[in-house]
Point group: C2
Chain length 314, copies 2
């Protein structure tokens, strides 16, 4: 039997000595020239999707020994239509074969029966007349809280049945996140109410690692929010986007970690995924080496910051 | 040049004399036996996706003369992976060829550059090295407000550039919608703040019909909310899910319409899409006729309710 998601994640973080998650946001226009040169003169969605598969095959082999988990961003696959979604499916299978956990950054949610279909789309388990018909399943996915906890329950039920995880948007990394998320409703902000929802859904589901499969997205771009939200959701793994290109630094994220240096994942996307692109528009010839180095540098920076904060990785 | 989305919608509503939108939520297990019998003994995602294409070809021909717009629910396609997304693309092309408007019920949103990719995925306009690479574009899509207006701006910019529309979740039809959406922040609820965001994004974009491309989702299951939210968003087309299987009746929705009987779309999904399934589990032999009849009955019920409310369709 598969161990619960949070326990599998905790093991992988220990094994790789890294609480870092690499976001994969495949922008066709930013592919390295070695890969771009394989495209036809007049690219099609299908030819770009195949180029993405080549790109990811090479990246995943480099980062699989270094980090526990990758986070493909569905939007960048879906913009290529069904061909792009096939490239996403290829990525999920490759990453899992390499021992990486996969977090589908899909940010879905809808009324109950529709959320059930989204859970099958990203976390598996669909069947028709006894035949499995789901695409390759990720280990976890991100979800939207606006519709309320009945819209999230189908995802949480998938966690119970299939040992997967879910990350609920609580406080996002974008500049406009305050607009709704920090509205004050009595004593608390909207995002504090969502944090309570996350804590409630996770409370009865805590595994051997001390964490539940119901995690939370909390932008690393809001350092002062991290410790209070950590305290409000003691059993939630916090996913911290915003490191690197969005501006957050390693010392900004330490508040999200508990005393055991567990329960949080720092996410970098562009700054690792496209590390070979220099600020002057030129490109490192050893593009794979640049990606690997950026991932190793991120690991080292986060480990050093945790050490300074008295929460060393173990 | 294509007319703005809200103007195209207003024309189609007048022409068909119907403010009804049919939701297409393809559940493989509910396909009519005539279509199910074409599946192999052991169905695959690809064989089911082809069955969905046959199903939709037949449905769309029946409902195209009757209603202005259809709303495919992405979750039910995505649960079949890339094969299902290809079936969605097929549906979009067929529906548009038949003169139907298409509203992609995708409920997406993310940080700005990711929302741009989602806008390209559903509303078109993506290109790489001068070649168009987007999948078939819908006329409009649904989006999530939780991340704030900077996460919605890329969709609104697509409205400006491509004469498409966007519907922001304001007050959803599910039982748990109150949990966040009705939290009180000072004088107003969270959903009232989102309504203000919708009104603000639409204000400078009002077309000849009197409506903007920035619409709002307001569940028909909350009749007392409809008139106040209508007043708060005077230029927004309101999309009203919840009619039929979710319990709302024609008289419940009249508050969403303004004095010209414009600016609102009543949505039924299951009660039309699967009208041939009887409560005893049997199936109408003329399944296409049942779907057509359910759509016509819905049109008649909504028109009669609007007449009773003194807002006749013109």
């Amino acid at each position: 039997m598969t161990a619960p998601f949070a326990d599998r994640l905790a093991s992988a973080v220990r094994e790789k000595r890294s609480p870092c998650c690499i976001g994969l946001d495949p922008r066709p226009e930013w592919l390295p020239s070695e890969i771009r040169s394989t495209l036809a003169v007049r690219p099609t969605a299908a030819s770009i999707a195949r180029a993405l598969e080549r790109f990811h095959t090479r990246i995943l082999e480099r980062i699989a020994p270094i980090v526990p988990i990758v986070k493909p961003q569905l939007a960048f696959f879906e913009q290529l239509g069904s061909a792009g979604v096939a490239a996403y499916e290829d990525l999920v299978e490759r990453a899992r074969r390499l021992g990486l956990l996969v977090l589908a950054d899909a940010k879905r949610a809808d009324i109950g029966t529709t959320s059930e279909a989204y859970a099958r789309a990203f976390l598996g388990g669909g069947s028709v007349e006894g035949a499995e018909i789901s695409p390759p399943a990720a280990d976890a996915m991100t979800v939207q809280p606006y519709m309320g906890s009945d819209s999230l329950e189908p995802f949480v039920e998938a966690c119970d049945r299939r040992a997967v995880g879910v990350f609920v948007l609580v406080k996002t990394s974008n500049p406009g996140s305050a607009e709704l998320q920090e509205l004050r409703c009595g004593e608390r902000r909207v995002c504090d109410h969502v944090a309570e929802m996350v804590a409630r859904l996770g409370r009865t589901r805590v595994g051997a690692s001390g964490y539940s499969p119901v995690g939370a997205v909390v932008g690393a771009t809001h350092p002062s929010d991290l410790a209070p939200l950590r305290a409000a959701m003691p059993h939630a793994v916090l996913l911290l986007p915003g490191y690197g290109a969005q501006g957050a630094k390693a010392d900004d994220v330490v508040g999200a970690f508990d005393a055991r240096a567990g329960g949080a994942l720092v996410v970098a996307a562009r700054s690792v995924n496209f590390a070979y692109r220099r600020s002057d528009g030129a490109e490192d010839r050893d593009w794979e080496g640049s990606i690997e180095r950026a991932a190793r540098d991120m690991n080292a920076s986060v480990a050093a910051a945790l050490e300074r904060a008295g929460k060393p990785l173990r």
